[in-house]
Structures are given as structure tokens and as C-alpha cells.
Symmetry: D2
Subunit: 275 residues, 4 copies
């Protein structure tokens, strides 16, 4: 069943928020069974969603885990269940120049349950929109400029050189092993730190100039974003088991092209440590 | 009826192209009639589409006009008909640095027919993806830079100053009065000239730097794009009647924000002349 | 500015809900002004959104009106402002067979403010997904069946005859004159009553059969949906001024075609009364 | 690189067609390399696309294979390349009632090349929109009807019983081993045969009734569609190697719900034979 839309009450530090959540739920079917009982999926979802009104769920990951467990109970013929949830989510952000505003992100959560196993495999993810400035075009322009204005090279902190910059959409999803809590807010921080710059809804004129300079002082390919984010992740979660799986994607809506630049890496914490 | 997908053979200078065309067709319904005969819409469409295999149509505008006329014939209870067509379209473009490649655009055409009137009102439009560089952030950064490096002001051609730049989507649609031929290829040219820079699929490293510099030498708000495009239009079609209607929209997928900047103007050639 | 995403606290009967709201805001620009100050739009939005956390707004219409007024104050060069808001929205619905579940809808609100005018023009709208069953195919099948099984005609309540049925998306938006309160929940009711049948997330097996029969006892073209909805509207709001504007669209994602059937009417309460 | 749009000339039996093709191309990157040379991707694409104007490519699969090989040549640091192509595609279909019209489908092709391996792994796929009628609701309604009208059971060919029916979107993609030609047109046939009924753009009134009856005589869950399509595939390609991979998805845009029903199976010809 795909595209089930529900409002879910989720507990956040110091408050509860309502997330408009889109759910996809699946169970496997034995070869001798014609079809699955779809209404049981809705019952499993409604039970948790209705319950969240009285007592908010701890997180989207907790939500999908509870639904995945409930699916196995309700479909006694199924041996596995899988649940995905995605939702718009907002964080109050203060720009480096002191202005505070709510910024939109997206949360992703997945749970896979197997009959007979105590633990449900949970994944947690976020999608963040930010900004990348291209290092390659910057270098080309710098080389051209230096020919005409060699004094640029002598300026103490350099001069920020023009390049193309654009909207970037970076997603991370990783396994959340039992007893290894990962916070969506932290993942959002890690992604924003890995971009050329985060973006903000509210920028007064001087802020705009400073954000532009900030991004140009920190140019990044999509490949850089993926690499830097994985490095930050490894540092932030030093105790994560080697087998823990993670996937990062970064897509730049190139301002100089009509197509996008894209980089992706699927790996484990073990592989990241071995590098 | 909306979303009818058909391949249409269209004549272009020196060749015929196949456009994967999405069609929306409408007729009005008198108060005493329960419903419209939908299959007649398909017959009107198929007749023209099938015919285009043997003899390509002259343009999307000709296609929608023919269908609009045919709808009034087939629905004798209707007094008006309206047909919209949109299609991906490609032009061979050579970048200023000599590389040739096919660039994607979108064509739009509309026809409104009224029973008893000889002429069908036709509109022609295009959607172009290009690039804008923000003049405002550039000015802020320049002012900051000049405080530390006043010599910049003395350089003969200035130095290109960083700013945010982004993918921009600009659309124009205008009435095409009888005997006033408008060519979609020309509209595409006019839009690309009104942006900070056109974009290209294939850019080798030095080209990239030059395109970036070109855009930064020509910074534009979305409001500038709309204004400049309307000015160019007026110059290009000096004999267009005063009553001819035109609508221009420009949307910048801001690299420094998660939302878009947007400007739009609906006007007539008469109003444009009066300014 | 388009696509600004914000969480908004809205007061509903007996509760407050958080709506993930997408906002488009516009102001006009005098000919002598190069560009609009975009950050002021965000300030106007943030003020209301932040305020709604402490004191929920009364409705999306109130939200857009407040923002539209604030825009005129902040952009002193502008003579008009326009604000659109859309949001997913949920209502607890009990199916005719007694099962209760949250069903998703969409809310739409628009405000147009003009400098020097006391009242802001407000519009309120909803989008509802439901079901239509085609009366035309049903009649054709019935005629065929009667030839072979004439006894069908003699059965007291008839026998429900097969036809194609499908997902239907119907939208209504209307002006809300000052002192004429329109409730989104009521509009949703009116739309659902105008379809062949509303749809429900949770249907146990016997409910499914009954919903299918309900829709087949009430077959509707998209034209019927538009007509019936306008009639219901007129009855529900008998005191609405003649000049009040309304637009209804109904689109059926035809199960027997790859394209959609579509009907639309834009009219006023005065015209509706004159019919 | 994602979303590169190009017109491609493809050879079909007795003709050449132009496909508006969207391409995603990827290469892997060694740990010590900062970024990939994106312009080389465009050169690889352009070479094939431009060539197709003079000499149409044999198929989308051939196109992606050629690009995948070319990518490995151009990026000497890469060890693998992957290319995806999707395109709208049209086939002339004659309805069982004799009306001929062009119906839209979508083609998918994928190629994975590995340095040092002679063969490129190719996959071929299609997406087909058709119709499913629900067997479960039909049975519930039948049971209810039989209580009141037991004579229905005695009619020789039964009477078609109402149910919900809807637009269904089914996709298949499978490996195409070297020397095992799979034709997209055949896959489209297999999918349409596995649905309750194919759909047609042009249906005159009597045809509509017959298509509705055809679908109701052949009710299907999404699970049935997946199962039946895999069975048909096995029969159609008896010599396909055991290791050949295939994935089928079927999604019903349920007329009685706001969400979709969905079934998927990923398997091999070996597994299919073992069942």
C-alpha cells in the first residue's frame, strides 16, 4: 500500500510536533495466497496514529517500527514487513547574522521486521536543501584573472572568485542499530556543515552578501559533499558497529546546465573506518 | 479532456521533427445537456495526428487551431472550444566557445474557437531554462570588497564580483494575430538574450569559466528578465496590433533560499508602447 | 516569491491543528522600480507564523489576509498584494458502516489586498479526492443485458449494473465576502455529497462491497459533479451576495483511458440564481 | 549526471521513431580523485545521439550500452559505468472493436559496464497503464445479490457483477543476456494481457460497455497482475538462462481509497522455473 497520508504527533526535545506523514507499507505473500488483506494495513497504521494524539510517538523511526511489528501480527501468513515514512519537518535556525526563522527539511524513516527475530531493523534519514559553489569553474576563472591582475594573488586573504553556485539537495539514510540512538536534528546539522553553505528563508541585504561569500570560501563538488558528510558521520558516531549501513546522495541543480550533477555512496561504518 | 499524449510530426525549417505532445481539449456545454461526447475529442485529435504522419503540420499552433475547429464541427451543441498543447523541443545551439549540442526547451500552443467567427484565436509560447545572477548580493559584496581593496574600482573593466546565481525558468506566451507569424525559435532566442546567460549541456572546462563570467557581467533580477524580454519582444514585432496580449513569467530557483523568486507580467502591445 | 513552506497553527472547532503550509506571495511593482525587496515578504510571513505558535490563527483565510495586509505596509511602493496558501488537512470521518479514520484533504486560501481599500478580498477552497462511476457505460451495459435477461427490468430495486469507476479529484474555490463565513469543513462535505461516493482509507470487506454499490446507485459524469456541487452551494449559502465568485473543477482519472475527463465552471451566485 | 534530455532516433520494425529520452549517467570514482569530469559524460551522450540522426540506433538498450562503453573509455580512472534511459513511446493499437489509435507507453533501458569485461549487462523495461477490477469487492457484492436474487446463479454465463475498477500502472524490467533478444513491444503485450483489461484513448459508446464487461470478466488484484505477468514471461522466453533477473511492479490507483494498492516481485528465471 503506498501513499497513505496521516497526521502524526511526534515528541521533540521540549515540545510535540504534528508531522503530515506519507506512509508506504508492505508485507510479503506466500506463493499459495492470492492476495493480501489490505484493510489490516490501515488498522495497523490507524492504531498508532490515533494513539499518537493522546501520547506522541518518540520519533518517525519508532512509528515505523511499531507499524512493522503490528503488520506481522495482523498478517499471520507474512514472514516480513517493511514500512517507509516521509514527512516535512521544520527547525528553528539562526543565521550567522542573527536572524531566526523556521527552515523546512524532510525526514525519512524505514523499518524492516522479520518473523521470529526480536529486533526490527530501523533506518533514519533526512533530506536537506542547501547550496554548493563549484570549485572547478572558480579555479578556471582565477587562472584567467591572475593573468590580467597578478596582484590578486598577493592579497592576504585572497579575493572571493566568481563561480556557478546552485540549489543542492542532499539526503542521508542510515541504519540505527538497537541502543545506538541517532537524532534527525543531528543528521541535518551534519549535512548542512558538509555543503558550501546552508540556506535561509530570511536574509536581509547584508546577510545575503555574507552568505554568498561564505559559500565561495568553501566551494564543493557533489562528490565533496558526499565524502565530507560520511567523514563527519564517522566522527560523530564513533561507537557505531562496523556493519551499520549508510547511503548518501547529493544532487546539484546546476545553474550552468539544464541537467543535474549527482553523487552517491552506499557503504558501511566498517568500510569507512578502513579507508 | 486532459493529458492526451500523442506523437506529432511538425515541419521545421529544412526538416520535420516528432514532438511528444500533451493535449488538453475543452468544449462548453449548454445548460440542458448532461455531458459531453468525449470520444469525439479523440476523433478530432486522431485525425490531425494521423494526418501529420503523411504531411507534417506547420506548427503546434496550427495543430491546436485545426483541432479547435474540428471540435466545434463534431460537438454541434458547443459554442466555444479550447485546445492546449505542450511538447519538449530541441534546438541545436553553439556555445560562444564553439561547441554544438542539442538543447531542450518546451513549446506551448493554445487555440480558442468560437462558433460563427471565422478566425480562431491562437497563442504561441515557449519555456526556457537558463541562468540568472543576482545584482543585489553582488552590490553588497562589492561595497564590502571596496573597503578593503579600493584598487578594484580603478581596474579598467572591473573585476567580476561574486553573487548567487541559479537555474531560472522563464515562460512567454502571446497571441498570434492572423497574418502575424511568430516563430517559436525566435521566442526562445529572445528569452535567452533576456537572461543573465543561456545554459548549455556541454561545457569544457574553459567554457565553464567563461559562461560564469558572462552571467556575472550581466546580473538580473527576475523582474529584469520579464522587463527586458517584453522590450525585446516589442522591438522584434513592431507591427503587432495594439490589442495583442502577452504574458511573461520568470522563476529563479534561488541558490541561497529553499523557495523561489518569481515575477510575472500580463499586458498588451498597446500598453507596452505607451510606456 | 513561491514555495515558502511553513508550519501554521490553525484553530479548529475544539482543537488547534498544525498545517504544513505552502505559501506564494506577490506584490506589484511600479514601472520605475527595478526589483522588489524579497526579504520583506519573509518578514511578513514569519510574523504571522511565529505568532500562530502562541495564538493559533482562525483559518488559512485569516492567515493569507493578515499577510496580504502586512505586505502592503512593508512594500510602500506596491498598490496590490496577493497571497496563496495550500495545506494538507485531515478530518475524522466515519464510514456509513461505522468505521472511523482520518481522511486527507487539501485546503486552499487566497487574499488580494489593494491599497486604500478597507476590505481584503478573500477566497476559500478545498480539494477532495473521491469516486465517480460512469452513467454512460452503465446504460450501454444495461441495454445489452436486458436483451438477454429481460427479467432484470422487473426486479423492484433494479440490480446494480457494472460500469467504469475511478478516482476523482474535485476542487472548489469561492470568494468569502466580509461577514459571510464559509467553513472549509462544510465545503468538503458539499463536495463529497456531489460525487458518486466519498472514499475511505479503512474499509473492511463488507464495507467495500457497500461502497461499490453506493457509487453504482449514484453514477456521475464530471459535468454532473460540477453542476450538483454548485446547486448544493447555492442552497447552503442562500444569503451570499449575487457578485460572489466561485470556480469548481472536477477531474476523473478514467479507469478505461490513459487520459482524464475534466469539467470546470467559473460563475457567480447571481448567475447560479438566474438559471 | 541526471536528467539529460535528448531526442534519439530509434529503428523500429519498418520505420524509425524519435524518442524524447531522459538520460542518467554514472561512473565510479577512485578514493584519491576529487571529482569526475562531467563534460565527458555529455560528449559520450552527444556522440551517440548525433550519430542516431544519420543512422538510427537499434533500440534504447543499444543506446545505453554504447554510452556505458564510451564512458569507460573517456573516464580512464573509472572501473564501472551505469546508464539509464526512459522515454515516452507509442504503439498503434486496434481495440477489440476495430478502432485504431496510438497508445502511449514508457520505455526503460539500463546498462552496466565493468572495466575488463567484454559484455555489458543490459536491462530492458516498459511501463504500461491499464485497468484492474477488484475480485474481492465483486465477490462480496455477488454474495449479497444472491441472497435476494438466487436466479442469478443459474444464468449460463453469469451476470457481470459490479466492483471497483481503476487505473493501474505496471512496470517490468529484466536483464537481457547477450544473444537473448527481448523486444519492448512484446513486453508491452505481455503486460496488457496480464491486466484486467488494456485501456484505449478512443472508445465509442458501445466499445466502452464492452471494455467494462471485459475487465469485469477478468478481475485481478495487483498481486495477480504480478504473478500472471511473470508466468507469461516464463512461457514467452523458455530459453532464458536461470540467472536472468526480472522485477515486476503493479500499482492500482484505487477508486475506493485515496491511497494505492501495490505489489512487487524481484526474482530470476531459475526461481520462476522452480516454483
Amino acid at each position: 500500500m503506498t501513499g497513505v497520508l496521516k497526521p502524526v504527533q511526534v515528541r521533540r526535545p521540549n515540545r510535540a510536533v504534528t508531522l503530515t506523514t506519507s506512509l508506504d507499507v508492505f508485507v510479503d505473500l506466500p506463493p499459495d495466497q492470492k492476495g493480501s488483506h489490505l484493510s489490516r494495513n490501515l488498522e495497523a497504521i490507524n492504531e498508532v496514529v490515533d494513539g499518537s494524539v493522546r501520547e506522541p510517538v518518540g520519533s518517525l523511526e519508532e512509528l515505523v517500527e511499531t507499524i512493522a511489528r503490528s503488520l506481522l501480527k495482523r498478517h499471520d501468513y507474512a514472514t516480513t514487513s517493511e514500512v517507509w515514512a516521509t514527512a516535512d519537518y521544520f527547525l528553528e535556525r539562526t543565521s550567522p547574522w542573527g536572524r531566526t526563522s523556521l527552515e523546512p527539511y524532510r525526514l525519512v524513516a524505514r523499518a524492516n521486521a522479520r518473523r521470529g527475530e526480536r529486533d526490527v531493523e530501523r533506518s533514519i534519514g533526512v533530506e536537506v536543501v542547501g547550496m554548493t559553489a563549484c570549485p572547478c569553474a572558480m579555479e578556471t576563472v582565477r587562472d584567467d584573472l591572475l593573468k590580467e591582475h597578478p596582484e590578486i594573488a598577493r592579497w592576504p586573504d585572497g579575493i572571493p572568485i566568481i563561480t556557478h553556485n546552485q540549489r543542492n539537495r542532499t539526503t542521508i539514510i542510515l541504519q540505527e542499530p538497537p541502543n545506538h540512538d541517532v537524532e534527525a536534528d543531528e543528521l541535518i546539522d551534519l549535512v548542512e556543515e558538509s555543503l558550501s553553505a546552508p540556506t535561509f528563508g530570511l536574509l536581509k541585504r547584508p546577510d545575503e552578501g555574507r552568505l554568498v561569500e561564505m559559500a565561495h570560501r568553501n566551494p564543493k563538488f557533489v562528490e565533496d559533499v558526499v565524502r565530507d558528510l560520511l567523514e563527519r558521520l564517522l566522527k560523530r558516531y564513533p561507537k557505531m558497529p562496523d556493519g551499520t549501513w549508510v547511503r548518501v546522495k547529493s544532487e546539484a541543480e546546476e545553474s550552468i546546465h539544464k541537467h543535474n550533477a549527482f553523487a552517491e555512496r552506499s557503504t558501511t561504518f566498517g568500510e569507512l573506518r578502513a579507508m
